[in-house]
């Protein structure tokens, strides 16, 4: 069943450059350059409008800042960026009753040159690669801020930067990571491989998907623009009422977070509809690869939890611009309201970060153990269980904040319960490793490191869920160690696993193995030497986000800082590897180097524009390793008439 606006072509003409007629040169088409023009124009328009509307507010005149102008400037700037990029072109054409311009979408990846990556494009594979580069840039930026933080923490008494700049750096690092990295796996790999893994030629809403990516760019720059305004002093959590008290950098934070939230909602929505409706015949739910299951779960989390964040950001911006009092206690609002809204989003957010990692790693271990995934249904139960339960635990961030005391045992219970489905992931891994034939390729090394890191991260979460123990641990470096282990040790290691695993399929180029192994070992070792001592620091009384600390903790902090610099070097090794491999060495790797059974590896490299010449019929699951005489995973040239009988139980017309 497929919902098509245009009829599917009977004979695909992928690869034929004459499809769209005469192509204009890149600078005469819509792209990043026109988007930039639109953004600047929009910003000035919005700023002027804001001055017109809000210039007379007492708040503005007394504080010498006009937050209304800034926020409206950002809003119109983003709108201008999108208009300039050509996002709304099809919409305007349809409104005007004209036929939609035939974008040479079906050329997709085969369109020569780099210009397609700087354009609003409807091919999910191009969007995936755009996400890949974008996410790497965002990650590196956040990482640089982290290096600055650790430099400041080298000494408790000698200060490299002023207290306001330190808080700015802390906030930028945290927000850059937590905000932008929520799509670090779903973006590059989810968008690229989602349709491929389910046997679909396209995503359900390619325009929404591309819009989701192009919203991350203004979000990134708006977040960085806070630096020009002295930063924001609230850290990534943006607690009120401090957030209302802050100067203009806080507007940048809320607006960027809201934009990124919208991006996540769109991406999630698109993915849900694609996975439900665009599966190939034979791709039953019980044959869906684990990565797709994780994307499916995460998409629900995004669609259900992120709107709460967007609402909270909107209310906070109203407090800061039009002097509403949603979060000001002494004027009838409640600071607790913000904490609850934020963490109702915030807890599912960390599972939005963690679950795709589970998915990627599950794929990888099956391939490199040459065994079926142990307990497929258990694994799904784990993902869905974690996703569902993540909505019921958020008060554990608020144990000491003065909430009703009888709530705390309840949330202690739910938080500890969520460790049960998380444990399923380990059960599945351990079962898959039983009597396997393990190959230590680089993706597999990262997968092993993932399990090690996530084990420590997860267990430390149990320590935090215990309310009495949380009295010492909350708001201290113990929490920092916990979430860096789960998110960086989990998600980021999974991201690197995914890159080393999937880059040959995405680009036909494989990353240098030697550098990859060096990167892995340095990253794993220095990651642990950096973050393991933080547990001790937290238990010894060092709060978060401080630039001064007790003098007896200096040695440990120095050890951590030096390790962090070495960790930064290891990421640099990756960057060198990536850049050199992609531009110079270009070691070709076509075909299926990992001998994997999943659908994407059965396609040529890079996949043709519409993925499959004909919609395949799925015959078997992708984890059937070790089975003597296994069925091929799919029939890519099904004879006519077969499709009707092999159809998955779903209503709708059959796609020919």
């Amino acid at each position: 069943m497929a919902i098509e606006i245009q009829p599917e072509r009977a004979e695909p003409t992928g690869g034929d450059p004459g499809l769209a007629g005469a192509e204009r040169p890149w600078w005469r088409r819509f792209g990043v350059h026109t988007g930039l023009v639109g953004a600047v124009a929009g910003y000035f328009l919005g700023h002027w409008l804001g001055n017109f509307l809000g210039g007379g507010f007492d708040r503005s005149s007394l504080a010498d800042t006009n937050d209304v102008a800034l926020v409206l400037g950002y809003a119109f700037g983003t709108l201008g960026w999108l208009v300039g990029l050509g996002v709304f072109n099809d919409l305007f054409l349809m409104l005007a009753g004209k036929p939609v311009r035939e974008e040479p979408r079906l050329l997709g990846l085969q369109e020569p040159g780099l210009a397609k990556y700087f354009r609003y494009t409807l091919d999910h594979k191009v969007v995936g690669i755009q996400y890949l580069y974008g996410m790497i840039v965002y990650f590196l930026t956040g990482g640089l801020f982290a290096m600055a933080i650790r430099s400041e923490l080298l000494s408790p008494t000698y200060h490299l930067m002023g207290p306001d700049q330190y808080l700015m750096v802390v906030g930028e690092h945290g927000t850059m990571m937590m905000m932008m990295m929520s799509s670090v796996i779903l973006g590059p790999f989810g968008q690229y491989f989602g349709p491929l893994l389910i046997g679909s030629k396209r995503v359900a809403f390619p325009r929404l998907e591309a819009l989701g990516f192009w919203l991350t760019v203004p979000a990134y720059f708006i977040l960085l623009s806070a630096v020009l305004m002295g930063g924001f002093p609230t850290g990534w959590t943006g607690y009120e009422p401090l957030a209302t008290q802050a100067t203009q950098g806080e507007d940048a934070y809320f607006f960027a977070f809201g934009l990124m939230g919208i991006s996540m909602i769109l991406a999630g929505f698109n993915m849900i509809v694609t996975i439900i409706n665009y599966r190939a015949p034979g791709m039953r739910w019980s044959r869906l690869p684990m990565f797709v299951w994780s994307m499916f779960t995460v998409s629900f989390l995004q669609v259900l939890a992120v709107p709460v964040l967007v609402g909270a950001c909107y209310m906070a911006l109203l407090d800061r611009t039009f002097q509403t009092a949603f979060f000001a206690n002494q004027l009838g609002g409640s600071s607790f309201l913000y904490e609850d809204l934020f963490w109702f989003f915030g807890h599912p957010e960390v599972y939005i970060l963690a679950l795709p990692g589970f998915g990627v790693i599950s794929e990888i271990i099956s391939v490199f153990c040459r065994k079926p995934l142990f307990g497929y249904k258990v694994s799904i139960a784990g993902m869905l269980g974690v996703g569902l339960a993540s909505f019921f635990v958020w008060q554990h961030h608020l144990f000491d904040s003065g909430i009703n005391p009888d709530m705390r045992p309840l949330f202690m219970l739910t938080t500890e319960i969520i460790s049960i489905p998380t444990g399923f992931i380990f059960l599945v891994a351990m079962g898959t490793f039983w009597k396997a034939r393990i190959r230590f390729s680089i993706p597999m090394l990262f997968a092993l490191a993932f399990y090690f890191n996530f084990l420590i991260g997860g267990i430390s979460g149990v320590f935090l869920s215990d309310v009495p123990a949380d009295t010492t641990e909350h708001g201290s470096f113990f929490v920092m160690a916990h979430f860096h282990y789960t998110i960086m040790g989990g998600l980021i290691f999974a991201f690197f696993a995914g890159i080393y695993y999937w880059l040959p399929k995405m680009t036909g180029i494989k990353l240098n193995e030697k550098l990859g192994k060096i990167q892995f070992w340095t990253m794993f070792i220095f990651f642990n030497t950096t973050f393991l001592p933080l547990f001790a620091l937290g238990l010894m009384g060092m709060p978060r986000r401080v630039f001064e600390y007790a003098r007896n903790l200096e040695t440990l902090n120095d050890w951590v800082s030096i390790s962090a610099f070495c960790l930064g070097v290891s990421v640099l090794i990756f960057v060198i590897n990536f850049v050199m491999s992609m531009t110079f060495w270009r070691e070709p790797e076509a075909g299926n180097p990992w001998r994997a059974r999943s659908l994407e590896w059965q396609l040529p490299t890079p996949p043709p524009p519409d993925n499959f010449r004909r919609v395949p019929v799925i015959l078997a699951g992708s984890y059937d390793y070790g089975v003597p005489d296994p069925l091929p995973v799919a029939d890519f040239n099904p004879p006519p008439g077969v499709i009707g009988t092999a159809y998955a139980p779903a209503s709708g017309r059959v796609e020919g």
Partner: protein, 242 residues
């Protein structure tokens, strides 16, 4: 693209990124103190004399609605727009603060009590805009900011236990004749002059100081803006080895 073209593009991109990074690091993330001058006070006869003034908001600063402190350079007697100064360790620090700003009540009136000074008092004189001294050298251990208009701001070094309310011109003068151009001069403006002393600690390092009167107009609870910006209503006192 040919190998040469790719190499060239790569090198250019790399240099741009490095250049941007260095610029950002040096200009923005570099210490705020490199942009603000630090006033160094050196001891003579085992004492140093630190002289500060706090000014009302006026159009002559970059932020017309922000109140600010100024620090006087001991050698040139110039008023510098900074709140960073250094004193030697283990020395008697004599502080003189000229209060040009009008009165604002403290949020927590406990800070009306003078704490941490030698003798437990401050000595206050008040002058009107014609230079007439209508209060002379009054030693006070409490300046109650809630009973009438007499406290403008405060000066506190919490790590040393020094908490001092800073006197202001009286109510009538506060309402009508405040200084309108920074740095304020004692001629033609009403002001209060307050002196007190404390011993600088023997442990060197940076000690923060702040004001406890939330005077950041337009910011929630008044603690934003100048209250959270170095060089305005908060600063750092470096204690260096003598």
């Amino acid at each position: 693209m040919s190998v040469v073209a790719r190499a060239a593009a790569l090198i250019v991109a790399f240099l741009c990124v490095v250049g941007l990074g260095v610029f950002v690091a040096v200009y923005y993330i570099g210490s705020a103190t490199t942009q603000l001058p630090i006033v160094h006070y050196t001891a003579s006869n085992g004492q140093v004399n630190v002289v500060l003034q706090e000014d009302p908001q006026n159009d002559s600063t970059t932020r017309p609605d922000w109140v600010t402190y100024y620090t006087q350079d001991p050698s040139t007697k110039q008023w510098l727009h900074t709140t960073l100064f250094s004193v030697p360790a283990n020395t008697k620090v004599n502080v003189t603060i000229y209060g040009f700003d009008g009165c604002t009540p403290l949020r927590n009136n406990y800070f009306s009590e003078v704490q941490g000074t030698l003798g437990g008092t401050v000595t206050v004189s008040q002058f009107d805009q014609h230079g007439k001294e209508y209060l002379t050298d009054q030693a006070m251990s409490v300046i109650n900011s809630w009973s009438n208009c007499n406290v403008g701001h405060s000066f506190a070094i919490p790590d040393l236990g020094v908490f001092v309310p800073v006197a202001s011109p009286n109510a009538q003068l506060s309402a009508n004749n405040l200084c309108s151009s920074s740095p304020c001069s004692t001629t033609g403006n009403p002001y209060a002059r307050e002196t007190f002393s404390f011993m600088s600690p023997s442990q060197t390092g940076t000690y923060r100081w702040q004001c406890f009167v939330p005077c950041g107009g337009g910011f929630l609870d008044g603690n934003g803006g100048p209250m959270q910006t170095l060089g305005w209503m908060m600063g750092e006192m470096d204690v260096v080895s003598a």
